[in-house]
Amino acid sequence: MQQNQNGDITILDEDSELTLKELCRACGIPAEQILALVEEGIIEPRGPQAHWRFSGICVRRVRRVYHLRRDLGVNLAGAALAIELLEEIEQLRARLARLEHK
């Protein structure tokens, strides 16, 4: 089966905006869990709560937190710490790769 791409393509970067409903659907998790992530400061929506807008990079964060909780049994605070450290490691690895490239 081969299909040609014909739908819309969106880059989920800092500039793209998702509503709460879109974010729930993108990540496949219910709104209550998103709210818990907001309370923990893992993702930060823009605007008043009734009109929250989430940046596109939240999709990856939310899914990572969800996987870490499911697979490693960490709680929300632990997952928050883990992804902050992971993101830092990613940046450091990229820098290291650049420096070792010489």
Binding site: Q2, Q3, Q5, I11, L12, D13, A26, L72, A94
Partner: protein, 321 residues
């Protein structure tokens, strides 16, 4: 179908107690979790480990699995004995949140397939003779592209595995090839959403979306950090000292760059806006890497001697002593 030794996968004796099983799983899961690990084959190892834990952590499934005996070895051809699961009740139920798509044929032949996405919903409408509609599941996958693809956009073919309900009512795995357009301006780790390219909906439900996480293949010349791209540019000492114009490759094509006189090793020259394209494009940095030629011939040695006479330069002046 190949037998899987779940104890061996978790590095355990068959006599391990539940606490040991959990401990072994957690350790391996931390090591191989695809969101955490940089180990080779992390994803495959993690799937194996999860599957093993799915069976061994559940006393019922473990008892049924143990009943097969320990005479099989990993990779050995295996058929479940007839009625092997009599007396055990776990078909269709008791699954945890683990991702059942990832489990092996071996697992499925023993325990069936749990949590089969939206397809369970098909049963609901049957009694009322109303057709059931549901949106298709979203699909998540990763794709590796070259840095040049991000400058120009590209079309790549990917193969996705997804489950469909077969004629016999049992789910089966189908492969789906998809041509996806990689838009200009994606960066490493970013996700792109392709509307309507996920799993098909049920009834008149809309299909789900496809989410692709972008990774960059290592490039011999360029390194990207976000939208910023770096290139190491080797220079001779005289080019760096006297200044020069040098042709520098970028993913966008060659650019003539002016090397200012007395440039230092590790110095950076910025080509504004020549990083990864976007509304506010990233910058491209040329990192100067001064390379000293070896002195082999008499002529070359003489040139270095002239250097030392011409300069009163002590690179160790700050070291005291």
């Amino acid at each position: 179908m190949e037998y899987r030794d779940y104890y061996q996968i978790l590095g355990l004796e068959r006599t391990a107690d539940q606490a040991e099983i959990k401990r072994a799983y957690r350790k391996l899961a931390r090591k191989y979790h695809p969101d955490v690990s940089k180990e080779e084959q992390a994803e495959d190892r993690f799937k194996e480990v999860s599957e093993a834990y799915e069976v061994l952590k559940d006393p019922e499934k473990r008892a049924a699995y143990d009943q097969l005996g320990s005479s099989y070895h990993t990779g050995e051809d295996f058929r479940p004995p007839p009625n092997w699961d009599q007396g055990f009740e776990f078909h269709g139920g008791g699954y945890t949140e683990a991702d059942p798509e990832a489990f092996s044929d071996f697992f499925e032949s023993l325990f069936g397939r749990g949590g089969f996405g939206g397809a369970h919903a098909q049963g609901f409408g049957a009694g009322t003779r109303r057709q059931f509609h549901a949106e298709g599941e979203n699909t998540h996958a990763r794709i590796a592209i070259n840095i040049e693809d991000s400058y120009r956009g590209a079309t790549r073919q990917i193969t996705l595995k997804h489950s469909v309900l077969g004629a016999d009512g049992r789910p089966e795995i189908k492969e789906r090839k998809l041509n996806v357009k990689i838009p200009k301006g994606v960066t490493e780790g970013q996700q792109i959403r392709l509307a309507g390219q996920g799993e098909p909906g049920i009834g008149e439900g809309k299909p789900g979306d496809l989410y692709l996480e972008i990774t960059f293949n290592p490039h011999p010349l360029y390194h990207a950090e976000g939208k910023t791209v770096y290139l190491d540019l080797p220079l001779t000492p005289w080019e760096a000292a006297l200044g020069d114009k040098v042709a520098v490759p970028t993913p966008d094509g060659t650019v003539n760059v002016t090397i200012p006189p007395n440039s230092r090793n590790g110095g950076k020259l910025r080509l504004k806006g020549r990083g990864i394209p976007a509304k506010e494009p990233g910058d491209f940095y040329v990192v100067l890497n001064i390379v000293t030629p070896p002195a082999n011939s008499d002529e070359e040695k003489e040139a270095y001697r002239q250097f030392s006479q011409a300069f009163s330069f002590d690179p160790r002046s700050g070291m005291g002593g």
